[in-house]
């Protein structure tokens, strides 16, 4: 799919109209899912486009979130959005740069475990040191403002989240079509070959890692401002694991896969916890979720995005000839 315009228009259009259709709870829920969609996009850049499986994305998310709260002025006045958001992004990017510089010297499984360990390090810093306010977290009492935009107003908050997701999506789509993006795809497909053609892959990987960290920090900032509360669990590896589930559920190698995956995962969680559907078994929803994750990875390795094609293939027995060509380039 070369032109995602219709998808973008319809999807984001629906999202824009949503608060008018659903009640305040529904708008809240979708706002939260959009934040996770932005976070999933940041991970998609690493995993789907560059082939770097990072198990520590939650750290950058959490750093952005904590930065949002820690940089609020102590006198109780509203933080300035135009200042605190870029600062949060910059801090997250800085940590990503440091972690990337150390981890990208390793490969494969090593890389996975090292990113996990570094995210745990960040977790313990906010969990144990006075910097982070400890295991009970910190509250934000005054939300950022900028001119007429006041994030205390739920409509403004929703709007900012919607805008961030749109900008993130479009930015990444463009980036992946650029020479930089194609270099990343090349690294993903065959790193040796890229090196053989004279590319020095390390700077590209590091740049992608840092960029991904910055985006995750942005999502973290939005989360902190929306909830008004941050807590060390935002940096836990469980969140990193859930993110990986989201992007593989939606479909690796597709931007919209990341977004759809975030929605699907959130919906699944709501479904499994619903007493209306599962009765008293609902309290064992971890079991349903775990089994679903395993089933998805086993039977739907290309995710939801590829589901229509998979079904078509099964039903008609025809091979989808477009597959090899599509696989080379990052899809929107």
């Amino acid at each position: 799919m070369r032109h995602p315009t219709s998808f973008v228009l319809l999807f984001f259009g629906l999202l824009a109209l949503w608060p008018f259709m659903a009640g305040s709870y529904g708008a809240d829920l979708v706002a939260k899912i959009m934040i996770f969609a932005l976070l999933a996009l940041s991970l998609e850049l690493l995993v789907g486009s560059t082939g770097l499986v990072c198990f520590g994305q939650a750290a950058f998310f959490g750093i952005g979130a904590y930065a949002a709260i820690l940089m609020s002025p102590t006198d109780g006045s509203a933080p300035a959005l135009w200042l605190s958001l870029p600062c949060a992004i910059a801090l997250a990017a800085l940590y990503a740069l440091a972690v990337g510089a150390l981890s990208l010297r390793t490969q494969g499984v090593y890389f996975i475990m090292v990113t996990l360990a570094f995210s745990q390090m960040a977790y313990y810093v906010v969990h144990d040191t006075p910097l982070g306010g400890g295991t009970d977290g910190i509250y934000m009492y005054v939300k950022p403002t900028w001119g007429w935009v006041d994030l205390d107003n739920p409509a403004h908050m929703y709007g900012l989240i919607w805008l961030s997701l749109l900008v993130g999506f479009l930015f990444l789509s463009q980036l992946l079509r650029s020479p930089f993006g194609r270099a990343l795809s090349g690294i993903r497909v065959n790193e040796q070959r890229m090196k053989a053609t004279g590319f020095s892959v390390y700077p590209y990987k590091l740049a992608a890692f840092t960029l991904s960290g910055a985006m995750a920090g942005w999502a973290g900032y939005l989360f902190a401002v929306k909830d008004g509360f941050v807590n060390p669990e935002l940096l836990s590896w469980h969140l990193s694991g859930s993110l990986l589930v989201m992007i593989i559920l939606g479909g690796l190698g597709h931007m919209r896969g990341a977004v759809l995956g975030a929605f699907a995962f959130a919906l699944l969680q709501e479904l499994f916890q619903a007493e209306a559907v599962f009765g008293s078994f609902a309290k064992h929803w971890h079991l349903s979720l775990g089994l679903t994750i395993m089933a998805c990875v086993a039977f739907m390795p290309h995710g939801l995005v590829a589901l229509p094609a998979q079904l078509r293939e099964r039903l008609s027995g025809r091979n989808n000839r477009e597959a090899p060509v599509e696989a080379l380039e990052e899809q929107a």
Binding site: S6, G23, N231, F263
Partner: protein
């Protein structure tokens, strides 16, 4: 292919819309929203609270102030990062009249913030964080349990009376631990003792050996500790295994030996702890409560069940005064503040910051029970620092 994706997304939206729309208008039924842990370390505490509350409602014939009670439950997983979402599910999606929860203090603080903003009635049946009846206090927020400070403060007086002068404290570095130690230090030092060292380790780390060696090297007169759950079991066993139990007396906030005696076995024998409940309170109310609880649930009740039961009592007192109107917060609060709640733990009243003013018992572990030794502190009121109501 694009079309399919769009259709799928539209279908997804429809599902979300359907599941989040509230069908009901204002019903005469009283909707009670439980936000308790159903999974994880605190799951059994959540169950006990749930049971206690339901027992009270069943004793009232399933109705409070003439309104039939219906329940909605949300699993908070003791995870503060999901707390705001979970409590919003109850407030905004299910439109509950009352929220009852929770166990973990971090989650409770998020709930208190949300309840304060929305004005929904909130009764906290366990979480002892000072903030809930401190800076976060509000006319619609009540606590039926305790504040972390109370058992600690009571023990401080006991330790001083027993003649100890130098004490080391050890706990997890989180709100519950910090506040318990703060309470202990306050009364212990007021009565002439000194806390020579305050040891702590990150929550929920349970590798105590290094710190036990530290305690031995410091040679204090006694040790005061706050741990709960799995940590409490391990600490008591490690303390005994390191030989410290024989040489340096150990005192603790009641959670050290509550619900953990089976696992701790002989290592807990003879330990003194302070709590607002014990296993052999010989008052009629407690005996009736225990009988009814065992009959209904085939389980022995514990302090959590009592707290859940009393949360029901508080709700009953308030709603009977406002004739079932959950929006009349002033009337509700007035009635509860004036009431004397006839609890299985002994009668207690509410402080002006909505925390129980109660007797704290000094208990000793005898066999598998925490037996009352004496009353450590009578009608102890939590100072409610920072509460502006």
């Amino acid at each position: 292919m694009q079309k399919r994706t769009v259709l799928l997304s539209a279908a997804a939206f429809a599902v979300i819309a359907a599941s989040t729309n509230t069908w009901a208008q204002a019903l005469p039924k009283l909707k009670v929203g439980f936000m308790l842990p159903a999974t994880g370390t605190f799951a059994s505490l959540g169950t006990a609270i749930d049971n206690g509350f339901r027992l009270y409602v069943a004793e009232q014939g399933g109705k409070i102030a003439g309104r039939e009670v219906e329940y909605v439950r949300v699993d908070d997983e003791s995870d503060p990062s999901k707390a705001t979402d979970n409590v919003n599910k109850l407030i905004k999606r299910d439109n509950v009249d009352v929220i009852v929860g929770t166990v973990h203090s971090g989650v409770a603080m998020a709930m208190a913030k949300a309840a304060k903003e929305s004005g929904t009635l909130l009764i906290v049946p366990n979480a002892g964080a000072a903030a809930v009846t401190g800076p976060m206090c509000a006319p619609n927020i009540f606590r039926s349990s305790f504040s972390n400070w109370q058992p600690g403060y009571a023990m401080g007086e006991v330790a001083a009376k027993k003649g100890h002068k130098k004490i080391v404290t050890i706990t997890w570095k989180y709100a519950a631990g910090d506040e318990a130690v703060k309470g202990f230090k306050e009364s212990f030092e007021k009565n002439g003792g000194t806390v020579v060292k305050e040891l702590n380790l990150p929550f929920p780390n349970v590798e105590f050996q290094a710190l036990l060696t530290e305690i031995a090297a410091t040679k204090p007169d006694a040790v005061f500790t706050f741990f709960a759950g799995g940590g409490a079991v391990k600490f008591v066993k490690d303390y005994a295994a390191a030989g410290l139990k024989k040489t340096i007396p150990l005192y603790g906030s009641g959670f050290l030996t509550d619900g953990t005696l089976d696992a701790q076995g002989a290592d807990a024998e003879g330990l003194f702890t302070t709590l607002h409940y014990a296993d052999n309170l010989n008052n009629k109310r407690d005996q009736a409560f225990r009988l009814a609880y065992v009959k209904s649930f085939k389980l022995q009740p514990d302090v959590y069940a009592v707290q859940g039961y009393d949360a029901g009592q508080i709700l009953g007192i308030g709603l009977n005064a406002t004739k079932g109107d959950t929006k009349n917060i002033q009337g509700f609060a007035q009635a509860v503040r004036a009431a004397k709640i006839d609890s299985p733990r002994g009668a207690f009243t509410m402080s002006s910051s909505h925390n129980p003013v109660q007797d704290i018992y000094l208990r000793k572990v005898v066999g598998k029970e925490n037996v009352v030794d004496s009353i450590a502190s009578k009608s102890l009121t939590d100072p409610g620092l920072g509460c502006k109501m």
